[in-house]
Point group: C2
């Protein structure tokens, strides 16, 4: 693409550095901003800069938070003996939305992925292991994606806390509520049979 304006070219280049946004979409977005009042561009730029400059993480669970101890960790009604291990804030938001969980979280900040250059030292695994040794936590629930990277991360953490007096579990894998059996993949269907639950349990929901 050849641009008649260096300013426009720069803006398009920077927008297209975002994941999933190509040059054409970037140009469309830049031209859109030019047609809107200046305030919109100012608000967008300022909010991004502020986010990047002032972002804080909860000292206990490492979730994104504006205060030193996040709302969930600071809530005395939550069960601090139960900790759900997740990859990032989106997982926390998804689980919170269910309204089914009253424990705390531990946000790893990703998963071990040698392909993407993410090792255990890039995640908050040490902090989780140290917390586990304090004796307050009774159960760790692994809620990572069921991919090779997720499984590797689960196993890496498990190996480090194996010797501690701690229950570990993973969230149930199975057929989604409302899904038809015939369209489920074999691995999921197989796991849902192996990990079947007493029928009475489903009556309680």
């Amino acid at each position: 693409m050849e641009f008649s304006s260096k300013l426009l070219e720069n803006a398009v280049y920077e927008i297209s550095q975002l994941p999933g946004i190509g040059k054409r979409t970037a140009l469309r977005l830049a031209l859109h901003l030019l047609k809107q009042p200046k305030d919109q561009t100012t608000a967008l730029s300022t909010s991004l800069l502020k986010l990047r400059e002032e972002i804080k993480f909860c000292s206990n669970c490492h979730n994104i938070s504006d205060v030193a101890l996040c709302e969930i960790c600071a809530n005395p009604k939550r069960d601090e003996s139960l900790v759900c291990v997740v990859e990032d804030i989106r997982d926390v938001m998804a689980i919170e939305n269910t309204g089914q969980y009253r424990g705390l979280y531990h946000v790893l900040g990703g998963r071990i992925s040698p392909m993407e250059g993410v090792g255990p030292q890039n995640l908050t695994i040490n902090s989780l292991v140290n917390k586990s040794k304090e004796g307050i936590i009774k159960e760790l629930i692994f809620a990572l994606s069921s991919t090779m990277e997720g499984d590797t991360t689960n196993f890496y953490i498990y190996k480090q806390i194996e010797s501690l007096d701690l229950k570990t579990s993973t969230i149930a894998r199975g057929i989604a509520v409302g899904d038809e059996l015939e369209y489920a993949d074999e691995v999921t269907l197989g796991r849902s049979i192996l990990n079947r639950v007493p029928f009475e349990n489903s009556l309680k929901l």
Copy 2:
């Protein structure tokens, strides 16, 4: 969506104001920026602000340009008696890419669309009409999208310059090079038969 951080919530809100970007994508983009070095966010924000603050338009063709008279208008080798009327900079870039056009452009900045609140006064139509009266322009080529809004805009301009000694034309509509006839829509195919060109012309390309 409930956020644990006001900073994140603001950033996601501002990003999701962009066309075609929903809350989930906005959150993904914001989390991506948080994982990248600070420089990237700074560069993005600065380029957007600079674009919006310092953008200039060519005084002759109204295309986006960093100088008062854009490169195309300032080029003495371009034919100033030929003016191609387009909607925005993307059309200029597309036509320039063909390498087939040696005239100048006139960028309208959109098309007449009562539904979107765009009237003739929001476009650079007056400037085009005034330019046409100066007598330097010999031909106007309408190259707007062939939609109802594009046709309305063409007709509106045509009515204002009808009395002048000026040739007007529109770009040819027809079957795209490489396309199969059987998949072409009827209107396009019909037009391509009506506006057929001497066979010898195609031999020259």
